[in-house]
Symmetry: C2
Subunit: 113 residues, 2 copies
């Protein structure tokens, strides 16, 4: 059993190439004994974005606060509070903050095998 | 790719024995092509609760709104907005709304194999 408020978890700058103004808090991970997937909380400054990239695992995302865009191949989808989204494996994607406030979302990923 | 606001997803009464005043919205599931785990949003009325039970899969929970209790064997933990929790497999647990407002949380579970 683990219970923690997200505010008590360290926010680390995402230093991956192509990321700007993004911090991540790993709320639940393998270290906590989670057997299948991890829960992270991302906070993005105005003007911030994640890399435009793809990888072998899916994302399940829930938007907690703010407004952003999900950029995919040939498409831009606006994101708002309360949106849930599935980004399939092996599809290019990028999250951007399009507002003047923080853009905050949960992003769950399966553990790498 | 799936994007949906939780408000657009049908809220179904949880009719499992021991549940009271609880609705669930399945935001992302196997039907959407999610390969590993599902995202559900639970909304609990004041006085509502889930069954006190255990099962073979874990929960990863994030509290969106309201206040509740997590009841486990020999323990009661208060839950508040922004709390993230891991309920391990095979441990008895129950969620209760202890406030006068709706208690709303996300609950992710692995697909059953």
């Amino acid at each position: 059993m683990k219970i923690t408020n997200f505010r008590a978890v360290e926010a680390r700058e995402v230093d991956e190439p192509g990321a700007k103004g993004v911090k991540v808090r790993w709320l639940i991970s393998e270290k906590d004994g989670a057997p299948n997937f991890a829960m992270r909380l991302f906070e993005m400054e105005p003007g911030g974005h994640t890399p435009y990239h793809k990888h072998e695992w899916e994302h399940e995302v829930f938007v907690l606060k703010g407004k952003g865009d999900l950029v995919t191949e040939g498409n831009i989808s606006p994101l708002n509070e309360g949106d849930a989204l599935l980004v399939p494996a092996d599809e290019n994607h990028q999250f951007k903050n399009t507002s003047e406030e923080a853009f905050i979302f949960l992003c769950m990923i399966p553990h790498r095998k």
